[in-house]
């Protein structure tokens, strides 16, 4: 009898607590609007540029090719989260969303009907975007072509399917305070901080995440993972770059997709560079200046030796190749498959020819990005210009890719050999085909 009343009491407590939590967490629906109103042309144009900084088009790319129609999954450790349709279609998209509803989604991660969004949508960063900038993005999205495409619903396993739990996650991990201005830094740096920490949400990929999928705030920009690629660390201590990234190099990389002291923008970053080619030059420079204050905090980049001097020094410092390595299949594969473009003096001309010694895929702690690039190459979208490389998934077996990776690592870096290469290559191939 006593045990029963205790159980009952506990149940009432849990129920009461849940109700109180639900009451606190509950968000009302915001009324539908009939149709988007007219927008000022200049506001739409500003919104287009801001949307490019925010990479909206990348995740919300239509699975059938219609921009912003959504439907593509973002793979997370908790399951696939499908991007929603953010065209102004009244049924499939956000056509009935008022400006207030859109602002709430961007700042609080709550949709028009009052449902909690998953932070695959980076509202933990977008919350830092000023109301004025959100309004411009709204004007831009509401003037896109409506698409009827209904994005698939996201079904995460229990307990992540309980959307209300996101209220707790938000309380723990979302900081709504604006990006603090640093009066000691110049206007460009502060503009960069605003764009990187807010709309650009760079840390969403370039920071590690904890067990609950939140960015590790204690170790920002120390490197993360996305879509089977490493997002390299951007701090001086964690960046794998052979030569520290300067603001100038970052600007070229972000704006043009390639810098000749580093490498081509590849994997998920390729689309980011592509978007940043449509952003005002001053904003890309500001982003570069802010990130360079992490990658090159002492500003020594400009004083560093030139690329040619550094490469010459590296080559001079390299050990004499052990004959057994020269005889490996990796050396033969490199000579026959790679050297046509990556060998000394090879005719690869667009925007210069970065040495493999400078690419962070080859110097990184894991072979993930190098494996991805060898297997699937670099492929600009149909009709688009950009760094290009054929993939070798069809011609090289896992052990052959591993052999060429071993050779690259030895030949072009002074870093330790990568372990378990064949398994790594095999896993990337499996993930790609699943």
């Amino acid at each position: 009898m006593k045990a029963r009343s205790i159980t009952l009491g506990l149940a009432i407590l849990v129920a009461g607590g849940s109700a109180a939590f639900a009451g606190l967490a509950w968000r009302p629906a915001i009324g539908k609007i009939a149709s988007p109103t007219q927008f000022d042309r200049a506001l739409v144009a500003k919104g287009a540029q801001l949307a490019a900084v925010g990479d909206c088009a990348i995740c919300h790319a239509g699975s059938t090719g219609t921009p912003f129609a959504g439907g593509n999954p973002l793979q997370t450790p908790f399951g696939a989260v499908y991007a929603s349709n953010i065209t102004p279609d009244p049924d499939a998209g956000i056509g009935t969303w008022s400006l207030a509803a859109f602002r709430r989604a961007m700042h609080d991660g709550v949709d028009r009907a009052g449902g909690f969004l998953y932070p695959a949508f980076p509202y933990n960063h977008y919350t830092h975007v000023t109301g004025e900038d959100v309004d411009a993005i709204y004007a831009f999205l509401m003037t896109r072509t409506p698409a009827k495409l209904q994005a698939p619903a996201t079904h995460l396993p229990f307990p992540f399917n309980i959307r209300l739990l996101m209220a707790g996650w938000n309380a723990l991990f979302v900081d709504h305070s604006p990006v603090a201005a640093d009066p000691a830094k110049n206007a460009a740096w502060n503009r960069g901080a605003y764009l990187v920490e807010g709309l650009g949400h760079c840390a969403a990929c370039h920071s590690p995440r904890n067990a609950l999928g939140a960015e590790d705030k204690a170790h920002p920009f120390t490197g993360g993972e996305v879509d089977g690629w490493d997002a390299p660390g951007l701090t001086a201590a964690t960046s794998p770059a052979a030569i520290a990234w300067t603001a100038g190099a970052l600007y070229r990389f972000l704006r043009h997709g390639l810098d000749d002291q580093h490498a081509a923008s590849a994997g998920p970053m390729g689309a980011v560079s592509h978007d940043l080619s449509n952003v005002p030059e001053a904003d890309v420079r500001a982003i570069a200046i802010y990130i360079a204050s992490m990658t090159d905090p002492d500003g020594r980049g400009a004083a560093e030796p030139t690329r040619e001097q550094q490469v010459a020094a590296r080559v001079a410092a390299a050990q004499i190749p052990p004959p057994e390595l020269q005889q490996t299949s990796g050396a033969a594969i490199f000579a026959g498959a790679c050297a046509g473009c990556h060998g000394a003096g090879a005719p690869m001309m667009l925007n210069g020819r970065p040495s493999l010694a400078l690419g962070s895929s080859v110097t990184a702690a894991t072979p993930r990005n190098a494996s991805q690039t060898i297997l699937y190459g670099l492929q600009p979208g149909p009709g688009e210009r950009g760094p290009w490389m054929p993939g070798f998934a069809g011609s090289l077996t896992d052990d052959q890719v591993a052999a060429v990776l071993t050779y690259l690592r030895w030949r072009f870096t002074d870093r330790p050999a990568w372990p378990a290469l064949e398994d790594n290559v095999h896993r990337i191939r499996q993930d790609k085909s699943s």
Binding site: A332, I333, A335, G336, W388, P390, T397
Partner: protein
């Protein structure tokens, strides 16, 4: 010596392991179907099939080919008995100068061997790496669609008869 299995026949060749397959096909084995275009994997004129995949033979060193099945345009048919894709390219007059055609046919062959009824989007995605400077793309696409129909009607979906050599 390295052994290569080309169109079902094993050849022993004495070449440097880094030598691209294209050079061995043309210079050592005398099979001139695959063409040298750019040597950088950018044009597709050298395309052959390797274990069911279309690959650039100019970027495939023979060091990686031990025990693997190589198929070239010579394996699809003869002048007297062209294979379905070859016949479709003739019927649609898909060649102008013809330099890219062997590569085009081998890349299309790889698609039709795994997908007997490809969609237009699948055909275009598959053929994307191969260039034709004459601009006969529309006829090339028509030929691939025609060959897909022929191969399905022949009741051997996605497959063609191997020509015995």
């Amino acid at each position: 010596m390295i052994s290569l299995i080309v169109n079902g026949t094993t050849h022993q060749v004495d070449v440097d392991p880094a030598t691209p397959l294209l050079y061995v096909l043309r210079d050592t084995l005398g099979m001139h179907g695959a063409k040298y275009g750019c040597g950088l994997g950018q044009c597709g004129a050298c395309t052959v099939m390797l274990d069911k995949q279309a690959v650039f033979s100019c970027l495939t060193p023979v060091a990686v080919l031990e025990g693997r099945q190589i198929k070239t345009i010579e394996g699809l048919g003869t002048i007297e008995h062209p294979g379905p894709l070859q016949q479709a390219f003739i019927d649609e007059q898909a060649a102008q100068c013809g330099y890219c055609i062997a590569g085009m046919i081998m890349r299309a062959q790889a698609l039709l061997e795994r997908t007997s009824s490809p969609t237009e989007a699948q055909i275009r995605a598959q053929m994307q790496p191969n260039l034709c400077r004459c601009g006969t793309h529309i006829r090339i696409l028509a030929a691939i669609r025609l060959a897909a129909d022929t191969m399905r009607q022949a009741a051997i979906p996605g497959r063609v008869q191997e020509v015995s050599r």
